[in-house]
């Protein structure tokens, strides 16, 4: 049985028979030991994506969904994890949208759930079906904010934080890690929730620029990624471009991740495709709509979809070619720049034809 003290009601509700499966996420000692055991020298950590995934993602690891679902998320690295046939990963993240399609292929088997879905583009019927069929097991339920506090506690270097979130909700009855306590600073009743520091095994974070040692720069929302990089036992950086160390030193304002966290640096232009990369490219909105309106409908559809886009693509360049190649890149760059700052006078048009099941869009706007 597990090392830590878990909420027995949540263990019963979640039907967890051996609680040792919960341990690593909150096992600070082993995370610290892993961080100490890394080579801390400022060395060249560049390698190929397949080398990085092969070396640093192991079957059964607790992996993260980083960025914000489809914003600056290392989708192309996730696809390589799928192509390498990794098995039985636990997924954690706020949001945790990308775990869904990995369940179908045995890549994701366990979920620390906060949010899985595509907002107004529809509920994720695939996730619902996989859960009902027992293909994924939820190990804990969270809100975005409480999970973010767990990652932040790890970055702060503290055993946990006291939160005012989750109180009174059923999430408490489906989360073995968190505990309602009395605020020790008060004599009158004041319930608070202890959120332990969370330590995933491996995180893959897509950034705008990194030097060869792993100092990494992010533009736009960092969401939870700086905390994730500080917490995770193993950190893979995929970067739109590799820059000289002097570039990082002279543009240090945006440096978000220090090199010592990092195990692997992968040069990965278009590493966030088909998601949005601030400053570089907008979403392929039709790809995501196809994922939710076609692929999520049945297991057969999901297999056909992923055979085409993941298992049938060698790398991100083949993926971009399928989206529409240079024309797609040009449009995606124009849209993201317009969305961020410069369409006031020239009126870039964001309208597009949403994905229709019977019509291949050709270029996936």
């Amino acid at each position: 049985m597990g090392t830590f003290s878990y909420n027995p009601e949540a263990i019963a509700n979640l039907k967890i028979t051996d609680t040792s499966i919960l341990d690593r996420l909150v096992d600070f000692e082993s995370a610290r030991a892993a961080h100490l055991a890394k080579d801390h020298s400022r060395r060249d950590k560049r390698m190929s994506l397949s080398e990085a995934i092969s070396a640093f993602v192991a079957d059964g690891d607790i992996a993260t969904d980083a960025g914000f679902a489809y914003v600056r998320t290392a989708h192309q690295a996730y696809f390589e994890i799928m192509r390498q046939g990794k098995k039985g990963l636990h997924f954690i993240g706020s949001p945790n949208t990308n775990q869904s399609y990995m369940i179908n292929f045995g890549v994701c088997a366990y979920s620390h759930n906060s949010y899985t879905g595509a907002e107004m583009r529809g509920t994720d019927r695939n996730y619902s079906r996989q859960l009902k069929n027992g293909k994924v097991k939820i190990l804990s339920e969270w809100s975005h904010g409480s999970m973010a506090q767990g990652f932040k506690a790890a970055q702060l270097g503290v055993p946990g934080v006291f939160s005012k979130q989750l109180l009174g909700s059923d999430i408490l009855r489906y989360n073995p890690y968190v505990r309602v306590m009395q605020n020790p600073m008060r004599d009158d009743p004041d319930p608070v929730v202890f959120i332990p520091a969370l330590y995933p095994d491996v995180t893959v974070i897509h950034v705008h620029a990194a030097d060869k040692t792993g100092n990494a720069r992010i533009y736009g929302p960092t969401v939870n990624d700086i905390a994730l990089a500080a917490a995770a036992r193993k950190v893979i950086i995929t970067a739109e471009e590799i820059v000289p160390e002097i570039d990082i030193r002279y543009n240090s304002k945006g440096v978000a991740i220090p090199f010592m966290y990092v195990d692997a640096v992968v040069e990965m232009p278009y590493g966030a495709v088909p998601g949005n990369m601030p400053g570089h490219y907008y979403w392929s909105r039709q790809w995501w709509e196809k994922a939710f309106r076609y692929a999520c409908v049945s297991d057969d559809n999901m297999k056909a979809f992923m055979d085409e886009w993941v298992f049938g693509c060698k790398d991100q360049f083949e993926f971009v070619d399928k989206l529409g190649g240079a024309k797609w890149i040009t449009m995606a760059r124009r849209l993201t720049k317009a969305a961020e700052y410069d369409n006031e006078s020239d009126g870039v048009d964001f309208s597009y034809q949403p994905y229709l099941p019977d019509k291949d869009p050709g270029i996936y706007y």
Partner: protein, 262 residues
Amino acid sequence: MTTNKPANPLEMVAYVLSRQISDHQVVYVGTGLPMVSAILAHKTHAPNITMVYESGGQNPIEGDMPWSVGDPFTWRKSPMIQEMAYSFAQSYNGYVDIAFLGFAQIDCYGNINTHMIGDDFHKPKARLTGSGGNNDLSSLTENMVLVGIQSPDKFPKKLDFITSVGHLTGGDSRKKAGMLGKGPVAVVTNAGVYDFEPVSKRMRVKSLHAGVNFDLAQLTTGFELLKPEGEIPVTDAPSDEALHILRTEVDPHGVFTSIPGM
């Protein structure tokens, strides 16, 4: 889309929700109709509000309708972007005046379910998204406004899962459980606007949209609605000007507010 057509039910919801915002407020915005309403308020009666999004963007200079709460339009030319943990902390620390959230189910105390439909967690009839930021904002924000479509399934006696606490079991139970803020102050649906009776904290009709009477509202609700004293007011409908702005500037592609055939 022309302005002489009356508001469809989604446009009505968006408009009524926008009226919950006062100028100069800090507004925490969830995805979908909350986003539409905040932007509509900003373009009409509340041009000086500050919008906050959980992905970190805040106070964007407006552009097109965001595709997601992580869209660049949520941080367009923002003075700063917050990390997620710090973004929710603004609600805890008292800097957020009002937040809007959607739901799959709501009960008579304004508790919310966005987790699942069915009574078996392991084999639900339908698994939904989970909390996202819903629980965080419901736990921390001073004034919550909840928005959704009204039907007996969506307004059940008992939730299938309590994702977020509103007034818990009524009375002062929310405060006793340790949550901050007033909890839900209003519920906006396609049928009407509801508030919560001050002592019992049970959902009460505040106004009903044109064409809806109390019996109809009750028919679409799985629990007993409270009736206000006196005559039930009719909710103000949007002016032609507000509808025009909604249709041409806020949601010109009808992503959130169009209904096929209307």
